[in-house]
Amino acid sequence: MSAYKRLSIRQKQIVWAWLFLAIPTLFYGLIRFYPTGTAFVISFQDWNLLGERTWTGLSNYQKLWNDPVFWKVFRNTFAYLIIGTPVSLVISFVIAYHLDKTRFMHGFLRMLYFLPFMTSAVAMAWVWRWFYQPVPIGLFNNFLASAGIPQIAFLNSTTNALPAVLAPAVWAGLGFQVIIFMAGLRAIPGSYYEAAKIDGVGWWTVLTRITLPLLKPTIVFIVVFSSIGFLRIFDHVFNMTTNNPGGPLNATKPLVLMIYETAFSSFDMGYAAAQTVVLFLILLLVSLLQLWILKGDNS
């Protein structure tokens, strides 16, 4: 205790900081970094999960580089990111913007939009899968058929399948984003709007010049986390396409699903680890980039 008292303020801060971090450091070290490190090591090995591990150098990475499926999956993964993030951002903003201006049964409406976020992905994937079916059981195609429009192959298609699988993922995440957006909207002081009202500017100008700029931190938060989410998309794709994981001709297969299959269907742990390392690097790059933008925003 007296030794502690002799420390300077700064040293005491360091002591407290590491005291607080002691258990978490141990936790992250043991539960996250150690397995992550193992994955990095395994990516240079050949291991079928059951037998011995043998060193193979870079051959897993070479295999990855030469694997057409990997490149297809790589493109898919970015397609999820590039379509999913802006679409969910815009939709959730529009909903939040209008929901924020609504008082009547506000809590009830909000719950309607949040409900999908809470329901089991397995069950919902089945319902969606079923909606997408051709006549006679598919809800969407039944509508089309009764309107005399030719059916659309949603899932059994190399072009439509990815957006069709993405839709439920966006749908399920919408509620969370709406809540975050509404919170952000509430945080904008009313005086800005009053000033704008006195100046007599239109709603569009208010939206683009006041609301959106002031929402920037919220938007950045949502962008960062939905990007990570879409780059790691798995549950919905897997459950939507259980009988042919990854859709027809890998049309919907994302990287995490490829990792899962490589690890637990082909038991090629080394190869799966190499894919994980690649995913790790992509995610780290994207996140650091976004954090960097976020930082530039503050200064």
Partner: protein, 418 residues
């Protein structure tokens, strides 16, 4: 309360008894299989009977959801956890042997010569270097399910016996709406279900080919037979318009929903079809090929002894496995689970073979083949993609076939090069 509660209470009591009772001297061995009500029921009955006969041995069964049974086993084994006797799909055998997870069955208790003679021939896929590594209690084969109500409606008397008849029958059964959309299919198709087996082991052979050579290490369906088989298969949808791949999501769903006239599936489907109210169905042997060739595909789950079992546990495991492959166990398995006995001596008794439901499957076993998979899911994927390329991308069947063969050969090479 419910039978599960009872079951749990029972297992709790057993555990207590093991702790405090005289049976503390007993050997306990662990058994793993995947979870399915009927299988668990059947196994519980078997264990009970086995323990009765062998009071010094207790068997603890653990089961996991099917979806991730394999993942679970794969996670447990490297950590040194796991069973003494394990149930595995026959296609995984190579992996398990290679990893040193299971040990050869002792020749004195499981004489290879006797097994060769007594079991259905495809069980020989479980033999390596003269020793058996695992044995099934039951086997499955394919047959043609048909909806008797739809058959009656269409005025069809008998299920098709040949592929040509199959097409004709299907044509009578298919229905379209005003816009030309199929609302009922003559026969279900879907490579993701059982059709890849039907194509590989049945159609290719029936069109005069041999799907693999060199003990399933080389793809051999690239010739005319393969192409003919493929053309026949995709022709059902493209030319004859009697089916639609993925109709109602899954073939069995269409059949269960009463919107499919015919459906090729395994004997394991019987149980779930029995549960569908209002569905009347029959079973027939798979249609014969153009030259009358009959073929079938058989698969099975086997039980093996893991390398973990040593000493008295090993002896107990051997005894348990002997019991699991006994005639008594096979008949019980057939009665409770609906899977076919692995020995003709049990399966082909008059009573079973003439059973209207089990009969066609059991007869099919006589001429069934078993694919030795290197990587079942990857090899299945090659088939799925082959048809998808033709269906969705309009690729020429010959090209697609060649591509599929190359893809599958790659999987095989990768596996066998070691």
């Amino acid at each position: 309360m419910s039978r599960y509660m009872k079951r749990m209470a029972l297992s709790g009591l057993t555990a207590l008894a093991t702790l405090f009772g005289s049976s503390a001297m007993a050997v306990e061995i662990e058994y793993w299989q995947y979870f399915f009500d009927a299988r668990v029921d059947a196994m519980e009955q078997l264990i009970e009977k086995f323990e009765e006969a062998n009071p010094d041995i207790t068997v603890k069964m653990t089961h996991f959801p099917y979806a991730d049974y394999r993942t679970k086993v794969a996670a447990a084994i490297p950590a040194g956890e796991g069973p003494d006797v394990v149930q595995l799909f026959y296609g995984w055998l190579n992996d398990y042997i290679e990893a040193g997870l299971i040990q050869p069955l002792p020749q004195d208790a499981f004489d290879p010569a006797v097994i060769d003679a007594e079991f259905f021939p495809m069980v020989q896929a479980m033999k390596r270097d003269g020793s058996y590594y695992a044995l099934p209690t039951a086997v499955r084969s394919l047959a043609l399910f048909y909806n008797t109500r739809l058959f009656d409606e269409a005025g069809i008397e008998n299920p098709p016996a040949t592929l040509d008849e199959l097409v004709e029958t299907a044509k009578k059964l298919a229905k379209v709406d005003g816009a030309g959309n199929l609302t009922q299919v003559g026969i279900t198709t879907g490579m993701t279900a059982q059709d890849h087996h039907w194509w590989r082991e049945v159609l290719v052979r029936q069109f005069g080919g041999d799907p693999y050579s060199d003990d399933y290490k080389t793809v051999n369906y690239t010739g005319d037979a393969g192409l003919d088989a493929l053309n026949f298969y995709v022709g059902l949808e493209k030319d004859h318009k009697v089916t639609q791949s993925g109709f109602m999501d899954e073939p069995q769903a269409a059949f269960k929903g009463g919107r499919a006239g015919m459906h090729i599936d395994g004997s394991f489907r019987i149980g779930s079809l029995n549960k569908v109210r209002g569905l009347k169905w029959g079973v027939a042997e798979l249609p014969a090929g153009p030259d009358g060739t009959k073929s079938n595909y058989s698969s099975y789950w086997v039980n093996g002894i893991t390398t973990k079992a040593e000493g008295e546990k090993y002896d107990a495991a051997v005894k348990f496995l002997q019991y699991l492959t006994s005639d008594e166990a096979m008949q019980l398995w057939l009665d409770v689970v609906g899977e076919l006995p692995a020995k003709p001596s049990v399966g082909l008794i008059e009573e079973n073979a003439s059973d209207p439901t089990f009969g066609p499957f059991i007869k099919g076993l006589e001429y069934a083949n078993t694919t030795k998979f290197a990587n079942e899911s990857a090899q299945r994927q090659a088939m799925v993609d082959m048809v998808a390329r033709i269906d969705i991308e309009g690729q020429d069947p010959a090209e697609s076939l060649a591509a599929a063969a190359a893809e599958e050969q790659k999987v095989l090479d990768e596996y066998y090069k070691k």
